[in-house]
């Protein structure tokens, strides 16, 4: 029967910009006005992308040129007194009051102060240097590190602060470096990456001393950056090695990749402002281009499956998961380290239980904490329910079977476990189950021997349905009772296979194979169909793997791997948000949890 939406349709929301998961995730770079004089390794100051000032740099000869920007075009103003490149600056200074210091031409400690009209030479730094960190404002600046121009490698840990009149020695960096990215204020700053050699080190300045903190994801030097404190920074471009377009945002604990610059570039400088409105200026060798970063405060939250009309780009759009960009992150360890656990649910609402050393104990996970739940009823004939199969959600789920070839089915209603109808063929090692607590399946496993038997659950009882094309032990599975996939697994003692079987509601057909043969792996996907699936980890005989593969409805593609090799898992979730916890790391067992997240991306539907 047609429903109301099928007859009347539904209202499509009009938005002026695409929705975003967060303010920084909604940020992008646009083309800014071109400099009059192309250059790299220049100094820059500013409090907004429409009011910056840049000075000096390599053009490619040492430059004294100073330019100001009005949001559209650059205007040349009075030159520095001393031409140089690799000069640092009071990053949070303004077009009416800023400072530049150090640089090369040769390497110097010369400091110049800008009053909105012209530069005046003031007291030098104690340590001459080039390519040191740019921090502060005209009357309260700071610099750290840099290259002293003598010796090899010549990088220094030296830090100096400026009080508006003179420079004073302050506590040194922990690691000597030059060409760091970051910035901030004299009271709170961040120094990321740098050269000596190229590195990913990050140090946080609290107004008194430097402390090492979370590294960059990869080495980065000679790029642009801006920071308002040691908990809010944006870095962009640089050499990593080779020019990069990548931009990273810092929130005080984590570096997050945000939208790239249009062009890979190094030797650029950050000018203007904040992590939500910034400017990348110039670059190597003599680039005139600038790019403006904007992360608008007003944005609509994104959610998967959202359909909307973008009035700016005149397009009907929907949001979908970009699985290939997904990655695993650390979750909270399970209370017990072991193998043979089973799970169901989602990344932020999961049920995990059983296991050889945990008996019938069960725990739920809310995305950060494991909470003890009532134990299952049946452990006979052993004291465990390890290697059972999980189906459903944390408000309506099933644990089925378990070692050694048990037939028990227990129903979870969100509060307690109730024994319901047994399987016809008791089994273990059937991997995770498929579907929901009222329409589910268990596939293969080990009964008295490896089995191809499949049973379907209707909410009340189990019915044997069409067998798999081959016996299968420890497969991954994904989907529902009308469309599903049985992913690889073992097809004999000590064997593993790449073969996958696809279920159309009636029969199984062999289809696209995984790239890496495995068994006892994790798998995730929607509890409804076989059009997408994720499989990860497992036993690759010999050894375990971190390998993760994504199925897009046609073929399997390798995506970002787990951090830890393992087999015999508990898993939950979908291809967008997955969960993997505990397992056999051989040698040893683990309680480690990893969480798979694939960002929601905008995908455009063509307008007719």
């Amino acid at each position: 029967m047609a429903d109301y939406k099928g007859i009347k349709g539904f209202k499509v929301q009009s938005l002026t910009s695409d929705p975003a998961a967060s303010q920084m995730a909604g940020g992008t770079w646009s083309a800014g006005g071109a400099l009059n004089t192309g250059r790299s390794a220049l100094g820059g100051s500013g409090t907004s992308p429409t009011t910056p000032i840049v000075m000096g740099g390599a053009a490619p000869a040492n430059s004294a040129t100073t330019e100001t920007y009005n949001g559209t075009s650059w205007t040349e103003v009075n030159d520095l007194n001393t031409a140089r490149h690799g000069n640092a600056s009071a990053q949070q200074g303004s077009q009416s009051a800023t400072l530049t210091f150090g640089g090369h031409g040769p390497t110097t400690g010369i400091t110049e102060s800008w009053n909105g009209t012209s530069w005046t030479e003031v007291n030098d730094m104690s340590t001459s240097r080039r390519k040191s960190l740019s921090v502060g404002i005209q009357g309260a600046a700071l610099t750290a590190g840099g290259h002293t121009g003598s010796g090899s490698p010549g990088a220094t840990v030296n830090t100096e602060t400026w009080n508006g009149t003179s420079w004073s020695e302050a506590n040194n960096l922990n690691q000597s470096r030059e060409s760091m990215l970051g910035g901030g204020l004299q009271s709170s700053a961040i120094a990321a990456g740098g050269d000596n050699p190229d590195n990913a080190l990050v140090e946080s300045w609290n107004g008194t001393s430097w402390t090492e903190t979370t590294d960059l994801p990869a080495q980065r030097t000679q790029g642009g950056g801006t920071a308002t404190s040691n908990t809010a920074a944006l870095i962009f471009g640089g050499s990593g090695p080779g020019s990069t377009a990548a931009a990273l945002a810092w929130n005080g604990s984590t570096w997050t990749e945000v939208a790239d610059l249009s062009t890979g570039i190094d030797g650029n400088t950050g000018s203007s402002g904040s992590t939500t409105a910034a400017l990348s200026v110039g670059g190597s060798p003599v680039v005139t281009a600038t790019e403006e970063w904007s992360a608008p405060a007003a944005f609509k939250p994104i959610y998967q499956g959202q359909v909307y009309y973008n009035t700016t780009s005149n397009a009907l759009k929907l949001t979908t998961k970009s699985i290939s960009a997904g990655a695993w992150a650390s979750g909270t360890d399970y209370p017990t380290a072991a193998n043979g656990f089973s799970g169901f649910g989602t990344q932020t609402a999961a049920m995990v239980g059983a296991g050889p050393t945990a008996g019938t104990a069960t725990y739920t996970y809310d995305g950060s904490t494991w909470s003890a739940q009532p134990a299952m009823n049946n452990a006979s004939p052993s004291t465990a329910r390890n290697y059972c199969s999980g189906i459903g959600t944390t408000t309506a789920g099933l644990f089925v079977g378990g070692e050694p070839a048990q037939a028990f089915t227990e129903d979870w209603n969100g509060t307690s476990w109730t024994e319901v109808a047994d399987l016809n063929t008791g089994r273990t090692f059937a991997g995770n189950g498929i579907g929901t607590s009222t329409a589910g399946m268990v596939v293969g496993g080990y009964a008295s021997d490896l089995t191809a038997v499949v049973e379907e659950w209707n909410g009340t009882s189990w019915t044997e349905t069409a067998d798999l094309g081959a016996v299968r032990q420890g497969p991954g599975s994904s989907g529902g009772t009308t469309s599903a996939v049985c992913i690889s697994g073992g097809d004999g003692p000590g064997s593993i296979t790449v073969d996958c079987y696809f279920w159309d509601g009636t029969s199984w057909t062999e289809g696209a194979n995984v790239n890496t043969a495995r068994k006892f792996q994790g798998s995730s996907g929607p509890a409804s169909n076989d059009t997408v699936a994720l499989t990860f980890g497992g036993d690759i005989e010999p050894g375990k793997t971190v390998n993760t593969e994504f199925y897009n409805g046609t073929s399997w593609t390798e995506v970002n791997n787990l951090a830890q090799k393992r087999r015999s898992y508990a898993r939950a979730g979908t291809t967008g948000l997955g969960l993997y916890t505990t397992g056999d790391t051989h040698p040893g067992v683990t309680a480690v949890t990893e969480e798979w997240t694939a960002p929601i991306a905008n995908e455009t539907i063509t307008v007719s």
Partner: protein
Amino acid sequence: MAYKYCTATNWGKDFFTHQERRDFYLRGHPGQVWVVGDNHFGDSWIGKVSGVSKTQAEAQAIVDGEIEAAQTAYDALSAEEQAERSRPVKYNLP
């Protein structure tokens, strides 16, 4: 992802906008070569900037030539100047 290739001169402000960066893949390379996501937004942008369409091989040849010239320039620098930057390296366009 499918791409198109063109050359276009970056004139500065609004050469590409924030919304355009959201609507299609765009990446600049040496020689004013632009790799553009193959959708109708990318096509519109190529028209907007009067981009000159190139095949992937033609675009790669331009980028290679620019990098070779940059390598020659780098090799002519003094040891002190070379220590300040890395030698450009050839790479393949997507």
